[in-house]
Amino acid sequence: MRVERELMRGAGPVAVLKLLEEGAKYGYELVEALSKQTGGILDMGQSTLYPLLYNLQSQGLIRPNWQESESGRKRKYYSLTAKGKKRLAGDTAQWVAVATAMQSLGILPHVPPRLRGGEA
């Protein structure tokens, strides 16, 4: 299923922030995690992911850091800042409110379905 661009624009940043809540991640890892954990619903090409990361960085929500991987190659890891954590909390509350509203309208079922291939 393909999500509308406008909807993706709203969901993308909060999804990335949520993934980074668990710990620092690099680009490819985020792509993989998004794809797996959302069952491909929030799958985004790298041409969208990296600009999204740079935007979050410009807002001070995430912090990049070049680190050497196990293979000896350098990778750029992104981690959540305090401001990012605050934003994630705020955005999460808003999404819950939206989901509740959708449930009350009957658009969403009361028990959200389990997504294929990952955690909701």
Binding site: Y26, G27, Y28, E29, V31, E32, G45, Q46, S47, T48, Y50, P51, L52, L53, Y54, N55, Q57, S58, W66, S71, R73, K74, R75, K76
Partner: protein
């Protein structure tokens, strides 16, 4: 048979031998650059290695390379370098030659401590398309240094070659980022490296940003490959390079320092405003330049048409012109000397000369007298027959008076006929009157007096211009004063019939007030508007480029208006002094279209001009000099327009067209001349009364109706003209006659 052929071959060989060899006594024939050099001290293998490189090159580059390599090799051998090492260093001739071509240098070949096997890889990285030699040299130096570090760190040349892959895209990335080491870490296939290069190139970011983006994307693809994804899958999942580059650029710019973003925003806003202004200016200028005035009527033509409608036998001008033509430039010079004497008569010391002049030019005087007997002036401006008269008057080549040139921007109308009638004809008639009085020739004197009054009638017909009537009034007043003097000083000079004739002639010589509401100045306002505005057919229109030319011509005679015109177009004061024509300045070129747009449209300007003109006329015809309200009303309105920057531009043509000074009292003299004329009439009537009754009447009323139709009213008091008899002589008193000029007279 063979001898000549052998000789030719030898000569050819001599001719092909380089001069340097000939000087040494060697005949070598054509030589390669290497052969021309002294390579005797170099081992053959080294020479062959150098030859293999130089063979790949051509022209000056080949000679230069050969010379420098030979020199370097000699030096290295002298320093103890092994022959085998040199040969090994030069063992990739194709790549080395290609690198020499790209960089234009050879010193790196032996200085870089890299295995020769790496030269093809180095060449692939450095030898990008459309790369300048300076950039190639810098890149070569960076790559050599980087590879040398890695080689010295233990990496084998094979590993280094493998890491670099196909290297074409990597080379492009190196040039884009101006950085080598971080990118050499990623051993990516050419297809993936091409995607990275494409994105990085399109972002048009700073080098550091490009390097960071390139490294991150390389790391991303390397991770993908590590996870077992194929190149094709990775490229597909990456998405559009163009979109990625656009989004990355946008996001990266947001990460730049605030100062830079502020500067960019300012620059973008300025550029956007400039573009909008430029577009608007272009549209305005094109619209402005396309505007042409629609000249529908020609004042001069209308005046001429009116004159042409007069029967030829009734036109006085041809006779005046004939008489004036008889006054040659030389005669005119003499006339200037005795002109005052003609007016003063026998009282002047130059009177004998004046009499002589009158006698000498009696033919011209006769023509003037004949002209005064005709009822109409009938002057035609654009009459070719005027050319000789104009030539005499202007002392230069003849010209068309008040030419009908549609491009003419000069608003002034030349009236040379007015000058000649007033300056030449009238004084000659006056002089002739003095002469007739002196000679006691009463009939001729009366004839000349009547002719002088007839001339005034012609004078008023010069054109529908206020100045003509004003000047006529002035002359009428003076002539009436002259007659009054005669009746007081020499009452017996004329008999009763002659006084009666003179009285009747003076009576019909009217003093008229100029009234702009009829024709007069309104005709000038309409002419002014039609020459500076377009006409949309409904009486409206917009300002034209020619309008500015008209204004430029008008401001040249007034420093105040010139300053106003200059200030509108921001002409620097210094420049203004040097260059009087504002329309030739650069600021005028830039601002003329916007200013024209701000100028009031035709109807608005006409309304304001008529209003200002009405105020001017009220002030000009105000008799009471103590009451300045009319004058103040005009100046207040003029100043109101001047004080507001918006109104100053909007009504610029009106401010230049109208006077910026106090209204002249010249215009209010009409009433004074009226009193002079009425006084002369009363004095003649009183003299005639005296002849019949033996004494002067006690009041003017006694003259009515037999000698005078009604009692004249003094315009200064709005009461009957004050008359009394003092010392047996009639005396008329009026403020008009207390003017200094009258006292002198």
């Amino acid at each position: 048979m063979n001898a000549p052929a052998s000789s030719d071959h030898r000569w050819r060989k001599v001719l092909q031998t380089p001069v340097s060899q000939l000087l040494r006594g060697h005949i070598t024939g054509a030589q390669t650059p290497l052969e021309r050099l002294d390579t005797s001290s170099l081992p053959d293998r080294v020479v062959e290695a150098i030859r293999a490189i130089t063979t790949q090159l051509s022209g000056r580059c080949r000679s230069k390379t050969a010379r420098q390599l030979v020199k370097s090799c000699k030096a290295l051998l002298l320093e103890g370098c092994a022959e085998a090492q040199l040969v090994e260093q030069l063992s990739e001739p194709v790549s080395i030659a290609a690198l020499i071509r790209v960089t234009g240098k050879t010193d790196w070949v032996l200085n870089a401590r890299l295995p020769a096997r790496l030269w093809p890889t180095v060449h692939a990285l450095v030898g990008q398309k459309r790369v300048r030699k300076t950039a190639a040299r810098q890149m070569l130096s960076r790559i050599c240094r980087s590879l040398q570090w890695q080689w010295e760190a233990g990496k084998t040349p094979e590993t280094l070659i493998e890491t670099s892959g196909d290297t074409i895209a990597l080379g492009g990335l190196l040039y884009e980022t101006q950085s080598v080491a971080p990118l050499l870490d990623f051993s990516l296939p050419e297809s993936l490296m091409s995607v990275v290069l494409d994105v990085v190139k399109r972002t048009r970011l700073w080098r550091g940003e490009k390097l960071d983006t390139a490294c991150e994307l390389c790391a991303h693809f390397a991770d993908g490959l590590e996870k077992g994804e194929t190149e094709a899958a990775l490229i597909k999942s990456f998405g559009s390079s163009k979109t990625a580059a656009r989004l990355i650029r946008r996001a990266r710019l947001r990460n730049r320092p605030f100062a830079w973003r502020a500067w960019r925003k300012t620059w973008q806003t300025t550029a956007a405003i400039s573009v909008v202004v430029l577009v608007l200016w272009t549209i305005l200028t094109m619209r402005f330049m396309a505007a042409q005035p629609t000249v529908k009527f020609d004042i001069i033509q209308e005046v001429d048409d009116l004159s042409r409608s007069i029967p030829k036998q009734d036109r006085a001008w041809p006779l005046y012109r004939q008489g004036l033509t008889k006054l040659t430039p030389k005669a005119r010079e003499k006339f200037y000397e005795i002109r005052a004497a003609l007016g003063e008569g026998p009282a002047s010391e130059h009177w004998p000369e004046a009499k002589s002049f009158l006698t000498k030019h009696s033919d011209a005087l006769a023509l003037f007298l004949a002209a005064t007997s005709r009822p109409k002036l009938g002057f035609i401006n654009r009459d070719p027959e005027n050319s000789l008269w104009l030539q005499n008057q202007a002392h230069e080549a003849s010209y068309v008076l008040n030419s009908p040139d549609p491009t003419k921007t000069n608003m002034s109308i030349l009236l040379p006929q007015m000058q000649d009638l007033g300056f030449h004809v009238l004084p000659m008639l006056t002089g002739a009157i003095h002469l007739a009085v002196e000679q006691g020739d009463k009939e001729r004197c009366l004839h000349l007096q009547l002719a002088r009054l007839a001339l005034l009638n012609h004078y008023s017909q010069i054109g529908p211009y206020p100045i003509c009537q004003i000047a006529t009034n002035e002359l009428t007043g003076k002539i009436a004063q002259n007659i009054a003097k005669l009746v007081i000083e020499s009452p017996e000079f004329f008999d009763d019939q002659q006084w009666e004739t003179l009285f009747q002639k003076l009576l019909v010589t009217q003093i008229k007030k100029s009234d702009f509401r009829r024709v007069d100045e309104r005709i000038f306002i309409d002419d002014f508007l039609q020459k500076i505005y377009t006409d949309d057919g409904n009486g409206n229109g917009r300002f034209t480029p020619r309008g500015f030319q008209v204004l430029q011509n008008m401001v040249e005679f007034s420093s105040g208006r010139q300053a106003l015109f200059e200030s509108i177009f921001v002409v620097p004061p210094d420049l203004g002094r040097q260059q009087t024509d504002v329309t030739e300045t650069t600021t005028f070129d830039v601002l003329s279209a916007p200013v024209a747009t701000m100028i009031a449209d035709r109807k608005e300007l006409q309304k304001e001009l008529l209003y200002l003109n009405e105020l001017v006329w009220k002030a000009r015809t105000n008799l009471n000099s103590e009451d300045t309200s009319a004058e103040n009303a005009y100046l207040t309105e003029y100043q109101r327009l001047m004080d507001s920057p918006h109104l100053r531009v909007k009504y610029l043509p009106a401010l230049i067209f109208m006077t910026d000074e106090l209204p002249s009292y010249l215009w209010s003299h009409t009433e004074r001349h009226q009193v002079r004329r009425d006084a002369a009439l009363v004095l003649i009537a009183a003299e005639r009364y005296r002849r019949q009754h033996g004494q002067f009447p006690e009041t003017i009323a006694e003259l009515v109706p037999k000698y005078l139709a009604k009692v004249p009213v003094d315009p200064y008091t709005s009461k009957p003209l004050q008359y009394s008899v003092k010392d047996g002589r009639p005396v008329i008193d009026s403020e008009a006659l207390r003017h200094p000029e009258d006292k002198t007279d």
